[in-house]
Symmetry: C2
Subunit: 191 residues, 2 copies
């Protein structure tokens, strides 16, 4: 195979830390030239993120619509973050079902249609899982959210061009939302 | 403050695992309603990622140019990944200097100009650090790379529209590269 000079073998792995969200594994790997190295990775379940698109109101069809977003505290950055809805895929749950569930739980909107935009590794260097991106439209507001006891989430409706223009400035700080937005912009509806 | 109903306080923190790349901390935090919870976060140094843009060749100025990319094995995904150059900011090193250094070490190109595209949290839920995104152009090929002993990296020149079209399909699997591309597309030169 043409890329053999780049590929490492795994020799063994060991769990070093475990909580309800992730496990830190140390993996002993062997380089293409036969040298051993230890690499630590974070093993977690897959994630699903969904861009909920509200059409422009009747009479303003020339506008580009809005996203339904969620504002919440994030313990890594110790700051508020304004994001697309998303979360962890439960065991046995399809990513699309997880996306629809998180959308409904966090925002009370249910999607009339949900389309897969793409799938990536959040960080292939140190994370084992995948993140699945969706676009949801024909939304219906059920008026009823379903938050966990430790979830404090505000829902905000933000014009699409405001999100694109401000991504990277607080509170639009989450790189996975920028990745989702890249896939959305590629569809040609966003830029 | 209007967002007080979303903000958590930190009560204490403790290191639970440490290697040369990151530390796993457990943080005891207090919810807006006074309930305690434990949240694990990955603490690491900031990262810098640089999009190296090669102009279209003379006589083909209507083309959109190419990116200088690096193909390497990633131990989290256990797969090859085709990425923009990047890496960890060393202690005391400005993100822009880290971006230029990683570009030169991994690809042998030095930038005539380097522009900041933006800055985000790789994952504000579970990571404490920031990722800084740059665009480099007026590139000069010095012909001399400087890889670490355990780095095996191929350099590839890829047309910009190929990268945009294929992001999310192997080997374009890294979400931070999609986030970088979103900022690039926003500049209006990419879409």
């Amino acid at each position: 195979m043409e890329n053999n000079h780049l590929i490492w073998d795994e020799k063994s792995r060991k769990d070093r830390f475990k909580n309800r969200i992730f496990t830190i594994q140390e993996r002993v790997c062997v380089s293409p030239e036969g040298r051993e190295g230890i690499f630590s990775v974070m093993d977690c379940r897959d994630w699903a993120i969904v861009i909920p698109l509200l059409d422009a109101p009747a009479g303003k069809e020339e506008a580009s619509g809005s996203f339904v977003m969620v504002r919440q505290w994030r313990h890594g950055s110790r700051s508020l973050s304004l994001e697309f809805p998303g979360g962890v895929c439960e065991p046995g749950e399809a990513p699309e079902a997880a996306a629809a569930r998180e959308l409904s739980e966090e925002t009370a909107y249910t999607p009339g249609r949900i389309l897969k935009l793409g799938e990536m590794s959040p960080n292939p260097a140190i994370m084992t899982n995948r993140v699945h991106f969706f676009l949801a439209d024909s939304l219906r507001d059920t008026g009823s959210r379903n938050l966990d006891a430790d979830e404090y989430v505000d829902v905000e409706i933000v014009p699409t061009d405001t999100v694109i223009r401000n991504m990277g400035k607080p509170p639009y700080i989450h790189s996975l939302m920028a990745a989702a937005l890249m896939l959305y912009m590629r569809t040609g509806t966003g830029c």
